[in-house]
Amino acid sequence: MSTARDSFLYNDIQDLLEKQLPEHGYPVPIILIRDILNDLFDSVALHVWSREDIIGVAKERGWPISPEATDEILENIERHVDCELGITWLTVEIAVDDFYGSIDWWELPKEKREQYKGDFVMKLEKDEDLPPSETYTFSPAVWQGDYRLLKDKTLQEVFEEAERIVKESNIPLRLYAMPPDNKPKAGVEENGKEIADFHPDYFEEEHKDE
């Protein structure tokens, strides 16, 4: 019996149907549904991977995460299940890397950037040919040398902040997503994932276009 197997999916489905059907006014006796589900769940073995598994792997690897991204990765995993191998942590890691490897963060619409959350580091990329603005000061309260850590921020917040700093300071910067608890400065390039670089030229061109 699946109920003896303690399948959480089985219990979740049953609970949800029990709760939702009367709410929506569907007059289906739950005992009937339970009988049908019992037979069905007795004829399969299931290995269920959930959002938490994806979030764990993505965070560990230093990627920002959004609910939509999580569900898309789960969908990709399920679509490509190899019946010889099933789903393993390696499958999840590959799916996470494939998904993030194909994202162009600049091209993401604002609404999507607002959904991605994580820890980020900004790294100033000082350029001798670009004299820094004299009016902008890098507060030592938020900057550790050329690095600044932004914890638990949305990608959109970080993009806006990076853009503001580059425009005001005239110093290019590179943005990295970081695994949790990673200190800025220590291994940003090695442990972080490069998200985007911000250069004053980009915004000058933007102004010219305007």
């Binding site: 399948s7 489905i13 949800l16 073995a45 290995h47 991977w49 969908e75 010889e84 942590w89």
Partner: protein
């Protein structure tokens, strides 16, 4: 969306509840779960097919036991792979005492069998097929044969997917379930 994905188990639930609820009603109720999971599934048919490939008789109870064992042994480290299915089917087979099975259970265990025996003074063994039948009937055939020839008969379970004419391969890939002695 799970609806777009049409995962095996979602489709099965949809089909099972089709007489009670519309597709939209099922989707509305279950989308919150199925949109947030990825599911690997092993079905009863997979177990049956694997048992055949491993030359083992099987019944519904055996399938349930194996599915149960598969789920119970699952962890995020051990996936629901064909290797895992092989291991559990083999463990189930090894755990069966083929000489002590009650006759009711014997009737439910289906498979392909080969009855092996040697006639006095013969150099090579003889074989008789008992295809697509129950272990119980194969055992009865073996008893009858043993009485006829006054020699012991070995019951081998075989892979039905192999060429029935290729006895060497059939026997090499078979499992001995038990011997039947001539009575009296």
């Amino acid at each position: 969306m799970s609806k777009a994905r049409k995962s095996f188990i979602y489709s099965q639930i949809e089909a099972a509840l089709a007489e009670l609820l519309s597709t939209e009603e099922i989707e509305e109720a279950l989308a919150p779960i199925f949109d947030q999971v990825a599911i690997a599934t092993i079905r009863a048919d997979d177990i049956l097919a694997q048992a055949q490939r491993l030359a083992m008789p099987m019944d519904e109870l055996g399938v349930l036991d194996i599915l149960n064992a598969l789920e119970s042994h699952l962890s995020q480290e051990d996936s629901l792979s064909l290797d895992a299915v092989n291991d559990q089917v083999q463990a189930w087979f090894d755990g069966m005492d083929w000489e002590e099975i009650p006759s009711e259970r014997m009737k439910s265990l289906q498979g392909d069998f080969l009855l092996a025996y040697s006639l006095p003074h013969a150099d090579v063994p003889e074989y008789k097929h008992a295809s697509n039948t129950s272990y119980w009937l194969a055992l009865r055939m073996a008893h009858r044969l043993a009485q006829e020839i006054k020699q012991p008969v070995e019951i081998l379970s075989i892979d039905p997917n192999l060429d029935p004419g290729d006895l060497e391969t059939l026997v090499a890939c078979s499992h001995c379930l038990r011997w039947v002695e001539a009575e009296g």
